[in-house]
Amino acid sequence: MFSIADLLTVAQALSLLTYFIGTAIYALPIPLHGVKKWAPRLIADGIYSLVLITAYTIIVSATVELENEISGSWGYYEYWLQSTITQLSMLYQYLSLAYAGLSSIPYFGKIINSIFPTWVFFSALSLALSYLSFLQLLSLFIYNDFEVLIALGILLIALPFRIGRVIGASFISSAIVFFIGLPYLPNFLENLGLSTGQLFLPVSQVSNTTVFGLFNYMYSYLLPQMVAVTIFGPLIYLTLLASLSIGVASLISGMGGRLPFPIEVP
């Protein structure tokens, strides 16, 4: 198992190797421009990756500092995700219980199903739950491993002949951008008017009306609001973060960038 220090040591050896390959190509007694143009490139790449290796501590501490300044705490974000998942799964349990009770009345279940397609609600609910769980997994991965991701990215950049330059820069930039940006998600949704608190508050206000009123409320308010808060809002935000990290990746690599993990609805 490699530690971060091991990764950086190997990266340093690789950047030295890149540099020496560059000088060897410079010394080749072949006047071919296509071969010779790699020499100054490789020398510059070796020096650049060495600068990145020595700046590793600065990059990590600056990322943590920026995260503290901009986004607020990871603890609150984890709590927000967990509590939203708990609320949704409780809603799922209550609704499936209520639906089981109502559909046990003869003909009532068929009438309800013909007016309000209940499977739509349940599938939207389970999709929202699975997307939030995926988000939780992604956040856990970024939170625990962002330092390893940065070190691995530097190692990939240090490989000779720019083999891993684009994907290495994408590792670094996505680790930085997602570590800083993800905890801001609750505030982002709040600013859009999509808070999870609003989602469940009016249930108590309509619970004493008729069953049809309740179903009406579920389909005209709760379902769209739930899909917006738990799927579309986070998806928009993750897309913003993804494009930002692709931009930072092309800044680091000078060649382009891509995203090393998926963010779409699975």
Binding site: D6, T9, V10, A13, L14, L16, L17, Y19, F20, I21, G22, T23, A24, Y26, A27, L28, P29, P31, K36, A39, I43, I47, L50, V51, T54, A55, I58
Partner: protein, 77 residues
């Protein structure tokens, strides 16, 4: 043998090869440049090889110093 040792051995070998190539390019370059052939392009390519070889020797010679310097500067930040 660990990956680190493999890479370090490889870069030592590459540095030795680069020094050898420099000597070869030095010889070939001067031979072409000083050759009694009245074709300007051949003499010119000998000149180019010499210039590149001198640059290569320069970068090889300062390679370890540059790396040590960057590490020193970065550790001071």
């Amino acid at each position: 043998m660990s990956i680190l040792q493999i890479v370090q051995n490889l870069s030592t070998e590459v540095a030795q090869i680069a020094w050898g190539l420099f000597l070869l390019a030095w010889g070939v370059g001067w031979a072409l440049r000083g050759s009694p052939i009245p074709i300007f392009r051949i003499k010119r390519s000998g000149q180019d090889i010499l210039e590149d070889a001198i640059l290569a020797a320069f970068f090889l010679a300062i390679g370890s110093s540059v790396f040590a310097l960057i590490q020193y500067l970065a550790s001071q930040v």
